[in-house]
Assembly symmetry: C4
Homo-oligomer: 380 residues x 4
Amino acid sequence: MGAPTFKELRRSYGFDEVAIVPGEVTINPDMTSTEFNIGHHAFDVPVLASAMDAVVSPTFATRMHEAGGLGVLNLEGVYTRYEDPYSVLEEILSAPQSEATGLLQRVYSSPIKDDLIGRCISQMNNGTVRAVSVTPQNTKRLSPMAVEAGADIVVVQSTVTTARHMSRSYRGLIFSELRHNLKVPVVVGNCVTYGVALELMETGIDGLLVGVGPGAACTTREVTGVGVPQVTATLECAAARQEYFKRTGRYVSVITDGGIRTGGDLCKSIAAGADAVMLGTPFAQAEEAPGQGFNWGMANPHPELPRGTRIRVGTKGPLKNILFGPTSVTDGTQNLVGALRVAMGMCGAMTIRDLHKADMVVAPSIKTEGKRAQMVQARD
Amino acid sequence: MGAPTFKELRRSYGFDEVAIVPGEVTINPDMTSTEFNIGHHAFDVPVLASAMDAVVSPTFATRMHEAGGLGVLNLEGVYTRYEDPYSVLEEILSAPQSEATGLLQRVYSSPIKDDLIGRCISQMNNGTVRAVSVTPQNTKRLSPMAVEAGADIVVVQSTVTTARHMSRSYRGLIFSELRHNLKVPVVVGNCVTYGVALELMETGIDGLLVGVGPGAACTTREVTGVGVPQVTATLECAAARQEYFKRTGRYVSVITDGGIRTGGDLCKSIAAGADAVMLGTPFAQAEEAPGQGFNWGMANPHPELPRGTRIRVGTKGPLKNILFGPTSVTDGTQNLVGALRVAMGMCGAMTIRDLHKADMVVAPSIKTEGKRAQMVQARD
Amino acid sequence: MGAPTFKELRRSYGFDEVAIVPGEVTINPDMTSTEFNIGHHAFDVPVLASAMDAVVSPTFATRMHEAGGLGVLNLEGVYTRYEDPYSVLEEILSAPQSEATGLLQRVYSSPIKDDLIGRCISQMNNGTVRAVSVTPQNTKRLSPMAVEAGADIVVVQSTVTTARHMSRSYRGLIFSELRHNLKVPVVVGNCVTYGVALELMETGIDGLLVGVGPGAACTTREVTGVGVPQVTATLECAAARQEYFKRTGRYVSVITDGGIRTGGDLCKSIAAGADAVMLGTPFAQAEEAPGQGFNWGMANPHPELPRGTRIRVGTKGPLKNILFGPTSVTDGTQNLVGALRVAMGMCGAMTIRDLHKADMVVAPSIKTEGKRAQMVQARD
Amino acid sequence: MGAPTFKELRRSYGFDEVAIVPGEVTINPDMTSTEFNIGHHAFDVPVLASAMDAVVSPTFATRMHEAGGLGVLNLEGVYTRYEDPYSVLEEILSAPQSEATGLLQRVYSSPIKDDLIGRCISQMNNGTVRAVSVTPQNTKRLSPMAVEAGADIVVVQSTVTTARHMSRSYRGLIFSELRHNLKVPVVVGNCVTYGVALELMETGIDGLLVGVGPGAACTTREVTGVGVPQVTATLECAAARQEYFKRTGRYVSVITDGGIRTGGDLCKSIAAGADAVMLGTPFAQAEEAPGQGFNWGMANPHPELPRGTRIRVGTKGPLKNILFGPTSVTDGTQNLVGALRVAMGMCGAMTIRDLHKADMVVAPSIKTEGKRAQMVQARD
C-alpha cells in the first residue's frame, strides 16, 4: 500500500462513462431555449460544424446558418488551394481506397492561394455569420485577409494550442495582439485543462474549443498517448470559464469539439459545462455535405507524423433532420436539438446555462449482450 | 491532481456491477414470504407487469392477479383507442418489419375514446385488483373516469416525473389533490433521486416507480444522455422511503421499473431497497401476452423525439413458469419468484423487508471468454 | 454528491481483476514447499478435486492421493444411488444433448442406498485419505455411516452454509456436535464472509470451503444475484482464519472453491490467503476423470430452482500433466503445481503461508485485441 | 462495509488505462531532444531492441546503432549455440506450426559454446555500442568473456530479478561485485517495485529493466498470476530512481520493457518516468529482423514451466520507418520516434526528463463499436 510513486494520476471521464441526472423540477421541452453566443453573435442552435473539407463548404456554411448554427470554413483546405475545388473533391471521392491516402497527401501539399480566400468567403450568402478556421502557423498571414474579405469570426485551431507556444520557425502567436488587431471574435483551440483554458481566456479570446485525443480510439491518443476524455476536459475548461467570468464579468463560450456522436454525447457535453459543441462526422453524413458520404482528415498538422485517411461514413439524411428530426432512428444520431430540448426538460433547464447545473453520475457503459440491449430498448 | 472542476461526479451502479452478499444466517426458501403492498392492497408476488400493449391486456391483468402479482393496463393504448383492439394488435404483429415503426406511429395517433375506458376495465375479472396507467397530461381527464369504472389503483407514469412540472399547455398535476380526489391508491413515476422521491411521497402517493434511462443501451440514455443506473436509483429512492417513513409512519412502496431481465436483477433490486419490481419484456415473452412474441414502445412520450420500434422477443413459456418454474433454463429468465426465495434463503431473509438489510458488493461483470463462463456453469 | 443512499456498497474483486506483485527476494522454485493440512492429514499438493460425479470416482480419488492432493467423493451421487454406477455414467455420457438435463434430473432422483456407501468408500485404495462429501440435510444420517466405513475426512457442502441455518423440515446441523461425534476432520462450506467464516471455525471444524457465485457468469449469481468474487471472498475468510488462530492457536485451512481455471487463478487464491484450492472442470478434463470429457451439475440443491446441464469440457491430458506438466500449452491450464512453485519463487515464498504475505494489486483484464495479446505472448 | 480483510490491494494501471495531459506550454517537435544514457554511453533514440533471437542478430544490432538506438544481443541464443546460426533460424522459420514448439525446445537445449561468444560480438560493426544479454545463472561465466570480447554493456535479465536471490544450485549473483569486476555499464531486470528497484540501484548498476507480466494476456500473468501493469511498475521504479538520485547524485536509467506496441505506449512509458523503452515484436516486424516476420519466446527461464511458441507477427517495413516514418498507417505502430517528438511538443517537453513532468490521467479504453472508432479517426 502507498508505495512511493513518481506521480499521482487523477481519474478522467469520457462520454460513455457518465450520465445526466434528472432534475427536481421538469419542464416541457417547448419552454426551453438553446441559444448561445460567440462574442456579439447569437445562435439559436448550440452546434458548430467542423472546419473539414468534407463537412463545410461555403454552401454548407450557409445551410448551417439558416438552421441556426454555425459552419466553420477551413481556410487551408481545397477551397483556398484550388481554383476549382469541386473537381478536386470529386477526384478524392472517386479514388480507389488504396490510393486515397497518397492522393490526400498530394492534394493538401498544393499551396494556399491568397486570392481564393476572398472568393470562398464571399460564396457564403449574405447574412450568414462567416466563420473561418486557420492554423496557428498561418494565422498572422491569413486571418487579416479573411477579415478584410468579410469573415465575422476567426477560429485558430491546432491539435493542442496554448497561450505560450515555442517554435524555431515562427514567432509564437500573441493571441491578445491578434484579437486586438482583427476586431472580430476569435475562437481558439484545442485545449483540455483548467490552466491553459484560463490563460487563453485572459488573452481576450471569445470562444474556446475543447478536445485533445478525446476518445480511446482516436489517432492522437493511439499514436502519441496524449489526450483527455471529453467530459473531464469540458469540466475543467468550464471551471476556468467560471473563474474568468467571476474575475472579469466577461463570458467566454466553451465549445466541446471531438468525439460527439449522439444526442446523448451532445447533452453530456453541455451538462459538463459546454455552451456549444462542434461536430464533424455527424454533419459529413448530411445530404448537403461536400464529402457526399465520405470524411477525411485534413492537411497534416505535424509534418513528422503524417495522417489522413478517407473513410466512408455514409449519408443519413438532410441537415435539418440531423438537427431537428423527424426521425425514425433511435440510436441518437438524428434530431440532436430535439434530444437536447428533451434532456433540458428532464433536468428542468430553461437555458443552456441552466443545464450546466444538472447533476451527473459516473455510469460506465458496461457492454452487455445484444439481447439485453434490445430488450431494454423495447421498453424505455 | 485536484485541478479545479466544474462539478463533482458521484459513482453509480447498475445490475451488472453489483452482487448480493449471503447472510450470517440462512433459512430454507419455503420459510420466506414475498408479500408486498400498494396502499391497502396486498400481493403475494412482488412483481408488476408493465403498462404496455404487448404485455398487459385485460385478460393478462387477470392472469397476473391469479398468479399473485399485478398487471397494469395502459389507458392510452389500443384498448382505449379502438373498438376492436385485437384486430389492431393483429395488424401490428403481421406488418413487415420495415413498416412497423410507421404503423405504430399511426396506430397511436388515433384518439382515446372515453367510452372504451369503462369497457376495458370491466374486462378484468371480478376480484382482480384493477390497475391502470395514464400519462401526466391525461391524468386529470382519464383517472376519474377510470376510478368511476372500477379501477382500484391509478399509475401516473412518464419518462421523468417530478412533483413540480412546468408546462405551457396544461397546469401541472398536483399529486396531493389527485390522491385526495381519486380515493384509490396512486403510484407515480418514474424518478431516480432521493430529493424527487421524497417530494413525491410527501404528496401522499402510495407507490413510486424507479427508473430513468436504466441501462447504457436504453434509448433515453443514448439519445439524451439522461439516466441513472437502477441499483443506485433504487438505493436513493429507498433511502427517501425510509426517511419519509421515519417522519410520518407511512410506508410507500418503491417499485424498480426497467432493465430487469433475470431473477438476479430482480433480487438485486429488492436487496437495493425495492418492495417490488415492474417487468416488461420478460412478460411479453409469456404465452399469454397479447404481443405474441413481440414487444414495442408505446405512444411517443416526447412529440419532438419520436420513438417506437417493434422488436421480436420470442415466447418463452406460460406466465406461471416465468414466475414459478419449473424450468430447465439456467439463464435466470424463468422461475423469478423461485429465484427470489432462494436468494432470500441465502440471505436469511424471511420477508422482502428483511432482504433490504442484505449487504451488497460492487462486483463488475467483466466479460470473460465463453469457455470460462461454460466451465463455471458446469460446477456452480 | 453525497445524496442519501440506502446502503453502502464495498468494492470486491475477482481473479481477472488482480495480480500478484513479485517479492523483494526471489528463490529458486525447487526450494519451495507446497504442503498444507486438513486436521492431522498433510498433503504435498494444495489441490482438491470437487465432489462431482464427473470428476471424482473412487478410482480418481486414489489417483489424486497418489499425486499428493485430495479427491472428494460425493456421497449423494451415482456411486451411492446405483448398484452399477458406471452404466449410469455411460448412459449420461451417451445421451443426446437435448435429453441430458431431463436424464440428469431422473438419475439424481433415485434414492441413496445406505449399503453402497461402505462399498464406494472401500473402493478407494488402502492408504488413500478418504474424503467424502454430504449435504447439510443428509449429514446426520450419512456421515456416521461414512466414518464407520472408513472415511477419513467429511466435507459438508451446500451453496451457502452458515453456522445458523433455519429449516422447517429438519433441525439445523450443529457443527460442534457433528465434529465431536464424528472424530474425523470436518470441512464445511461454502461461505464468503468474515463473520460466517469465523462462526464456522468456532464450531471446531478443520477446513472451510470458500466460494458462492464466484464468477459473473455463474448460475447462482445470474439466477439469484447472490455471490462474492473469489479474491475478496478468500481475503475475508483468510482474515477470519488469522483472527481465529490468534485467539485459539488452532489453524483452520481455507480452501478456495469455484471459478479457478488457470495456474494464475490458483496462485491468486493462495496469495489472497487460501491454503489450498478445490477444482472441478480442470480435473473433469483429465484422462482419468469418470466424466470422460463431460461435466455436469449434481442433484439440485434447491428443489424450487432446478439446475444441472451436461457440458462438454474436453479431455486435456493425464492428471499428472495437469498438476505437474510437462506441457506445451501456454494458457495456464496445465502444470498447475509448477506454476505455483514459479509464483512462489518470484515472491520469495518458501511455503504456502509465505505466499500469503505477497502483495497484490488491482489490475483489471481490460480486453485488448487479439493482436496485442499475441504480440505480448511472443515476448514474455 | 469495511469487513476485515486479509490484505489491502492498491490500484495499478496499464497502458490502455491512462493518457498524457497536454502541457501549459507547447513547443515545436523539431526543438525536442530524445537523448538518453546508459552509463557513459549516450543514445539519440531512447529505444532498445529486445535480446530475442528473432529480433537482434549481430547485424540488426549494428542497424539499431546506426539508427541511434541500441540492440541487445542474446548471449544464450542460437548465435552462441551454433556454428551456423542462420541455418538454424531457417529451420525454425520453415517448420510447420505443429512442430515449432518441440523444435524450439530442442534448439535451445544445445549447449552454449564459449568460442562463439567472441565471434558474434565481433560481428557487430566497429563503432557499434555492443550490448549483450545473459541470464543470472550464466552471468558469472559468460559476462567476463563477453567484456573480454568487446561487449560495451552487459544486460542481466530474467523474468524477475532481485538483489537477493536464493538458489540451491548456484550462489546468488552479487551485482555490486559484478559491476565492479566487469568495468562496463550493467543493466539489470526485470523488476516492478520501488523497493527492489532501489536495492538494485544501490548495487551500482547503470540501468534497470522494468516489466513483469505487463499485460493481462501475457503468459507470466496468465500462468502464475504474477505481474504488475507497466504504467504503475514504471511509476514505482522511477520513484526509486529519483530517491536514489537525490541520495547519491547518480542517475540510473529506467527502461520499460514489455507490452509496448504503439507510439502511444512508448510515450506513456516515458511520461511515467522511463528514460527509454525496450521493444520486441515491433522490431521483429522490421524487414531487417532475423525472424523474418516471426517471433518466439526463448530458452525456457523456468525449467519446470516450459514455454515458447513461434508466432507470425508479419513484416511491417524497414527499421527506419518503424522508428522515424514516413508512414501511412495511423495505428501508432510506425514512426515511434516521431510520435514521441510530437507528444513532447504537446507537453512542452524539450527533453526526456521534461516529459517526466507531464501530468497523466486515468482514462480507460472502454471498448466502443467500430463505427465510433472510425468516426473519430476521421476527424482527429
